[in-house]
Amino acid sequence: MRLLLIEDSSRLRATLERGLRKAGYAVDAAKDGREGLWLATENAYDVIVLDLMLPEIDGLTVLRRLRDAGRTAHVLILSAKDMVEDRVQGLRLGADDYLVKPFSFDELCARLEALVRRSYQAKNPVIRIGDLEVNTAARRAWSAGRGIKLTPREYGVLEMLVLRAGEVVSRRDLWEHLYELDSEAASNVVDVLVCSLRKKLRPESSQNLIKTRRGEGYVIDQVGP
């Protein structure tokens, strides 16, 4: 999942970038409101983590301009402002969640996961497709009850495909949701990841759960458990 972090505290920004990447997110970071607004307008993010007191353009203005521009990415406000009116104002301007500093990193991750699930109308963190089970909260997958060891990128591909099961996901979409803007990953890295994922999902089966739609992308068909 691709995430934009707009935070002016360099120390907090660096720590969250590091932690969220470890948690499997592709993270772009901006140090002020102007840069953050530009990134959010130019790219598609699953979630934007937005500080309110920002240099250049404040967080609420960034949020307002994003919504005015028709951007629907989920926004989680992360701010030291803890007054009820601050939260109400942020949520009314179009934020989806509000977390007050200081915060638990695990709570931030859980709230981000919830927002990602909401993006794909998945209320249950456990998604079952055939004998495949993916727990988006634990970020783990099982095939026929057998745990699958996945790298964060592989898990990212699988999560994206199961959340959008029945829908063709383009290579570009997958790449954008796996890698940051400044990533030097090659364009065929998605194909490599899908190939690796197929092997881990059905090592002994010749039938692929992840199907290739030539020229379009990849899809996992929506079937009952």
Partner: protein, 493 residues
């Protein structure tokens, strides 16, 4: 609790009650006195009428009285009289007296005596006793052409006449007047009570309204002024005026307090969030390249930043409480300014700022060197951090009589004139985002508190794109040795 309304009501009622009672008493006395005088006058008239009937001839005195002329000496509840000669011989008694006597005091000639007594029939009465010489009558023959003439000769014997009259009617009248007056006074007192209550209520209504408005005020409504309407009583105008001033100052304090709390929360919440995130991420992925040592180093940096904020706040609290000792000594301004620049040299190196020192050699003042150095360090640090990049920071000083001025300036594009009044507020920062951990917005607040402690005046101004802070104080003659002033802001004489 003593109520103004209660006190006014009680005192007014007590005063009015006393006045009414005194008025009633005086009126009662006046009426009683007049009635008694009239009564006594009537009694005396009667006595004189009787005395006029007494005659003397040849040393013999008699009084001829017909019951028809004065029937009051005959009937039931009668009046009484008795006539004596000087030697006590009874000449005549009223028929109503029978053989009984009236008391006789032997009033001197020409005098009269009025007294209360119990009448022979047991009633209360009043008696008048007069002493007189009965008239002598010369019988002249009408044909001689001489009119009969009454005379009162000096040789006639003295007689005493006492006339007594029951006073039950007088007493009843006096009692009735007293009861009436008492009732009138009580009625007036009742009416006065209602009037006083009503008047006090009307008079104190503006005070009640004021109290009601003040009661309804809280921290959120301090900005609302109390109405200074035209119908406000003159006595309350200065009260309301001063209350409005007080409320405005309170409101400003509350706003400053809220702003202070919000800024303090931000200054502490952000490093706390950093600390928590750094440690939690490090603990979550212990085996990763970002080592625990890196996390500890980050945490240490955050701790130092928080420590700086807390120490500055504690210093401010101590300066406010005048808990600092002022050690005064002769201080060379040029030397102290140069040494203070050294403390920000590294920071200045990053921004390219340079110091332009314009303080004459040998310019000394008597002050606390350490605190003056703290002031200059903060001003230099501020100038380097917020001044125009690569610009010169000027520091100049001059003497003016017994006063010196010390000025620190830097180029600026960010500040506006409206920023100047808030510049010395705690946690004030031009950047509303409060970015950057190096400055928390306490530097100029510390400068302000230290200036107060040292008795220095401070002034911030913008001149031609330059921001300048000027400090002014007394540069007294250098003492022969260091002197100590505990908690005093002024310098030694």
């Amino acid at each position: 609790m003593r109520s103004l309304r209660g006190r006014l009501t009680v005192w007014l009622l007590a005063g009015m009650g006393l006045l009414l009672a005194a008025g009633g008493l005086v009126l009662s006395r006046a009426i009683s006195s007049q009635l008694r005088r009239d009564y006594d006058a009537a009694l005396l008239d009667k006595a004189r009428s009787l005395a006029a009937l007494a005659e003397e001839q040849d040393g013999k005195v008699w009084l001829e009285l017909s019951g028809e002329v004065m029937p009051e000496f005959e009937k039931d509840n009668p009046d009484y009289f008795q006539l004596w000669l000087r030697d006590g011989t009874v000449v005549e008694r009223s028929r109503s007296l029978g053989v009984r006597n009236l008391p006789r005091s032997g009033t001197p000639s020409g005098r009269l005596r009025l007294s209360d007594l119990t009448l022979p029939d047991g009633r209360h009465g009043r008696q008048v006793e007069i002493s007189f010489r009965p008239r002598s009558e010369l019988l002249e023959v009408e044909d001689r052409g001489v009119e009969p003439v009454a005379r009162s000769g000096a040789d006639a014997p003295m007689a005493t006449l006492a006339v007594a009259h029951g006073r039950e009617e007088l007493d009843a009248l006096l009692a009735s007047i007293q009861v009436s007056l008492t009732l009138v006074v009580l009625a007036l007192l009742g009416g006065t009570t209602l009037l006083v209550k009503s008047v006090v209520g009307i008079a104190l209504a503006p005070l009640d309204n004021l109290a009601h408005r003040l009661e309804g005020m809280d921290a959120e409504s301090l900005g609302q002024k109390l109405p200074e309407a035209e119908d406000l009583p003159a006595e309350l105008v200065p009260v309301v005026h001063h209350l409005n001033g007080l409320l405005a100052r309170l409101d400003a304090s509350f706003v400053r307090e809220r702003s202070f709390s919000a800024h303090l929360a931000h200054e502490l919440r952000t490093p706390l969030a950093e600390l928590r995130a750094v440690t939690e991420v490090a603990l979550k992925w212990q085996d990763e390249a970002f080592s625990a040592l890196d996390a500890v180093a980050e945490a240490h940096g955050i701790g130092l930043q928080m420590e700086k904020v807390v120490l500055n706040l504690l210093a401010l609290a101590r300066y406010d409480g005048k808990q600092h000792t002022v050690w005064s000594s002769e201080v060379s301004l040029r030397e102290v300014a140069a040494s203070c620049w050294d403390t920000v040299a590294a920071e200045a190196g990053e921004t390219g700022a340079t110091l332009q020192l314009e303080i004459p050699e040998g310019l000394t003042v008597v002050t606390d060197r350490e605190k003056l150095a703290l002031i200059l360090s903060n001003l230099f640090s501020n100038a380097v951090a917020h001044g125009r990049g690569g610009g010169a920071v000027t520091c100049s000083a001059a003497m003016d009589g017994e006063e010196f001025s010390l000025r620190v300036g830097n180029g600026t594009d960010a500040l506006a004139p409206e920023d100047l009044p808030r510049m010395f507020d705690r946690f004030w920062r031009k950047d509303p985002a409060r970015s950057g951990a190096r400055h928390a917005g306490l530097g100029l607040a510390l400068v302000s508190a230290l200036c107060d402690l040292l008795g220095l005046e401070k002034e911030a101004r913008l001149v031609d794109g330059r921001f300048e802070i000027t400090l002014r104080g007394r540069a007294l003659a250098a003492p022969s040795s260091s002197s100590l002033h505990r908690g005093a802001a002024s310098l030694p004489a």
